[in-house]
Assembly symmetry: C2
Homo-oligomer: 268 residues x 2
């Protein structure tokens, strides 16, 4: 790739061009590590109960522990991770009560987002959502089902919907909820890909898309809530949730979680 070097001063013709460009991201290392950990969490690649070590994560990502500290501190503030006093930092194990609360909040908040999306979505946004829906349908009904791909497509579908609501803070709220619910929801979907073939998710998605096209907020909300409720019912039935008592002193801790994620994620 020996393309001729672009001279560094092609700016003079339009003095307003430099003022129009938004201030560039200036993404810091801590931001990158945060994004990496968030992606791992929502994708279910970090299992509930899995322990992380600042130094290990730093080594795996090729950075010092400082950016990792910042990232873990942020995620712990959202209780997407929890730092045990002297021990280590681990992915929280939700109790059944916590999972129930999370599901109820998702029904309210994401349902509201679906209503707003049905009102405000542009045709392009609806088309993008439809593309995600098709991708999810293909990956989920393949043989064997592509679990990781379906999880990603499902996430893209939902957040394309939420973005269409045109309420940035609302999207952030939902991301926080997904950070907490992601480990169980998607770890399970990854472990039991055949659930994808049940078709309930696909039916809900189709109904949602239909409601979007008809600009029917109530039906869109209902379809999305059905999607959430059915996935949650499956999780609650399968188990994997923590005991009802939260503090969980020395109760169990015995169940060794599968150790996937960090050391498999390669350099940077």
């Amino acid at each position: 790739m020996i393309a001729p070097v672009q001279p560094l001063a092609p700016e003079p013709p339009r003095p307003s061009a430099i003022a129009a460009v938004g201030l560039l991201p200036r993404e810091t290392l801590g931001d990158r590590v945060t994004a990496e950990l968030r992606a791992l969490l929502v994708a279910g690649r970090l299992a509930p109960g899995e322990k992380l070590s600042l130094r290990r994560v730093a080594e795996a990502l090729g950075v010092s522990i400082m950016p990792v500290r910042e990232a873990v501190s942020r995620l712990a503030a959202d209780s997407a991770l929890e730092v045990l006093p002297g021990r280590a930092v681990r992915v929280p194990v939700l109790t059944q009560a916590q999972f129930r609360e999370l599901t109820r909040l998702r029904l309210v908040v994401e349902g509201f987002a679906a209503e707003e999306a049905a009102r405000n979505a542009t045709q392009e946004q609806i088309a993008a959502i439809a593309a995600c829906e098709a991708r999810f349908r293909d990956l989920a009904s393949a043989e064997p089902p592509d679990a990781a791909g379906a999880v990603a497509a499902n996430r893209d579908l939902h957040f394309a919907l939420y973005e269409a609501a045109a309420m940035p803070t609302l999207v952030e709220m939902i991301e926080r909820l997904w950070l907490k619910a992601g480990p169980i929801l998607n770890l399970d979907m990854r472990d039991e890909p055949r659930r994808l073939k049940g078709g309930s998710a696909m039916q809900a998605h189709a109904a949602l898309l239909d409601a979007l096209r008809r600009r029917d907020p109530v039906q869109a909300r209902d379809a999305l809530q059905r999607d959430i409720a059915e996935a949650a019912a499956h999780i609650a039935a399968i188990g994997r949730l923590g005991p009802e008592s939260e503090p969980g002193r020395s109760t169990d801790e015995a169940r060794r979680p599968p150790h996937i994620g960090i050391e498999t994620m390669g350099e940077r």
Copy 2:
């Protein structure tokens, strides 16, 4: 206070006593700084646009900059603070659109919390809320009105209500919203205490309390939403919000915000 020294071994009768004590908080320095800054933000003692310096805050609080970094990083993750690339960290100036979105989200989320509280609140919790309501009424209708006290009583009232919903994650969500809206809402209330005497807040509070006692979720939600909407309408009318364009490069920045807060908050 020279009470006789309690001998140090009154434990043998109940060997389970040591197991019953919950794990002690182990509050870290970063947590304390975070709590301090959060309190300043929701109380409106840090004005929108006010710039903070990690080293200044650290010096004012008598700690190193490390805990302050952690606290600022957490709050910036909630966009309760924003870190300008090379400049400094400052309290965000909400645009009108952002404030409108925040208000709509508060109507949805806090309204839902009010419904749940009306269903689940115990008599003790209702009594506590009533106490806050009385305190707010007294402080707001005093001559001159005690703005700072009324702000605190208002916060206690609202969060006593939200706690009564018995949904911890919901309370966290609401706290995040208050973190963003607090600077404008309460800075204004502090600057113009006579608004308190308008009585609209007191009427909404009274209606809310009445609905709680009658266990009427819909009326409780309506009363709370009226409270939120009226305060928001006042803010939108008074101004003080940022321009409609978010990036706001070199547009203004001229308005020097009042510099209150950090240096007045004493040691530790």
